[in-house]
Amino acid sequence: MTVSEGPAGNPLLSVRQLTKYFGSFAACSGIDLDIAPGEIHALLGENGAGKSTLVKMLFGILEPSEGAILWNGKPAVIRSPSEARSLGIGMVFQHFSLFEALTVAENIALSLDPKISLAKISDEAAMLSQAYGLPLDPKAHVADLSVGERQRIEIVRALLQNPKLIILDEPTSVLTPQEADRLFETLFKLKAEGRSVLYISHRLEEVRRICDSATVLRHGKVTGTCDPKQETPASLARMMVGADVSDVSRGTGSQLGDVQIEVASLSVPARTPFAVPLRGIDMQVRAGEVLAIAGVAGNGQGELFDVLSGEHTVADNDAIRIRGNAVGKAGINARRLLGAGFVPEERHGHAAVSEMSLSDNLLLARSQPDRRALLSGGALSVIRHGAVRSAARRICEEMDVRKSGDDPAAGSLSGGNLQKFIVGRELDRQPVVLVVNQPTWGVDAGAASRIRQALVDLARAGSAVVVISQDLDEILEIATNIAVISEGRLSRSFAAGDLSLEKIGLMMGGIHDSTHSEAAHAH
């Protein structure tokens, strides 16, 4: 791995020992980064690796705790986005802050000098969008535009200020492949003009295709600087996910029982232009097994969870079976009645109603048979508050949920504690099948290990557990079997002991073993 210097030698932007603390937690720690003029520099890392924190410091949204930012070799203090803009840094955010009811030109005008007339802005925006291959009608209303077109507005808005460095935060996460190709052409044009691009992504193929150099972050630290074209997806993945695998006893996988949840050649078309279609998913999970599904974000994990949980039903009723019952067309409650439990990825507004108390959240997640103990009065369904509260209290004790007050609102708990409660809520039903999506995403280490332990214990007690996770450490810690999802295809499952990190990395990069030859990467 070599530090790549741009042709000019002197970097446009240098970051030295940049550190950001949130309380005692270091989101970024001693980051070094050099961006040469006219290069596309990738910032690689998993979710939570510190990419966004670093970029926010560069754009003046967050103040660094320690370290220095050098612009053209001179120390720069960037206090606000407008100071960043006047230095010559433009930013295209992952989530756009556009006004739906206004036209493209009006949206751009709002962030510019009010003295420039709307007509002039329209002309300039039209010209820029022509020049950079970003087709855009200045008179169109944002409400009518696709996500890709909205992103173009943000890019044109950044370009109007003639920046020397453009930061793009996960730009392709919202784009269709065709839109992404268009974006890459624009980036090459910017590069040809001598502008630099800081390209944030966790998509290895993309980075190898368009970036001249890459800085890889993991847990807030730089784990490597390299020329991505000289690397393999596996070596990049290793830098991203790290090789420091902890030694934890896995389930043996020998005393597995009957198949509890089964998916047979399930294909689901993409529901939106930005969703991933599921292609020929085959999966079997037996009692006593923890099947971990690894994969880089946005490869169909959410879609797979939705069809497993019944949030989206599928046309072929036989494609999904829970304990032998065909449930493809059955809703969430019907699947719960068969003994399945589900923990979705989003805690707030999906797994829990933030404004409601823990006991209310418990009751809401209970279907008929489980609810009986919590209700009285027969058809009247009168809530037995005492019973619900004591059940909630039991779950909190079981999972060591730390909270203020006896029965606080779900939203007042920290992410880790709420996640422990949600997992505990499902475990309390003693599900025969448990499907969990990103069980410890954004959760502190203590809570994460408590949750992992609970999942392992559930499997040991004879349930089938499916864990969808991006965290390879977690997967290697708890899985008896591992499968990898990539571009909506699921590999066959391997015994956890048979897979090296290298091999998982390759599979995550889209290179499957020979049984899935059609899945070989298209690029």
């Binding site: 006004f99 739906e100 009811a101 206004l102 009006e106 005008a109 709002l110």
Partner: protein
Amino acid sequence: MLEAILLTVITAATPLVIAALGELVTERSGVLNLGVEGMMIMGAVVAFVATQTTGSPYIGVVAGITAGAAFSLLFGFLTLTLVANQVATGLALTILGLGLSGQIGESYVGQPGIKLQPINIPILGDIPFLGPLLFRQDLIFYLSIALVIGIHWFLFRSRTGLKMRAIGDNHSSAHALGINVIRTRYLAVMFGGACSGLAGAQLSLVYTPQWVENMAAGRGWIALALVVFASWRPLRVLAGGYLFGAVTIGQLHAQAFGIGIPSQFLSALPYVATIVVLIIISHNRRTTLINTPASLGKPFVPER
């Protein structure tokens, strides 16, 4: 005959158009003020009292505008600074206005008022038929037309109007761009109040130059409905207001002729006709969506 009828139509429509335009600006900034009726009646009583006291209906007009604006400031303070619920505060403002105006105007009930005299615009006023209709009118009519044009220009041509529409669409993003959401909303609320006050002054100085308790008679509510059915566009407010005025006057004449339709039905006709026509105009869901202020009625509390 036709000319006389049209003149009464204009007089009936003008207060609706003015009050609705004011509310349109308020709502475009994302604030829902249901107190139009209350602000209007305050404008009416204060304009009348000021005119009786000073003898000048022009001072009355200014007093009515000021009263409406001042009364809306109360609403602004409660909803924007103290972040009270806009619907409840607006309703309270109406009830308060009705009571307070009755109190203020108690001793003026039945007094003959002073009418705001028409201003004859030279040359234009001599055009046959159109001249007397459009160019021998009072100040408030001229103001109402100027407001339609001015507000249309302001909202869709000026940068400040653009900022205001941006606030109405998404106050968080507007705040992030550095636009002062609360100050703009205060100004929009006060503009709405001033327009309601002016509409009230028209009632007690032009429409029926006297003070009668509760003389706004629901016009504030009609104005509120006009704004919605006109999908927040000033020119449609003008059309809707005149349609309502025309059907109101038309059905009065129909009742006078004694045609065999129950009078209750005829009285309901202006409401029905206006709503039907404006629904037909605004059937295009896309245009309606684009013009509806998305943050309407939502309180804004800046993050710190």
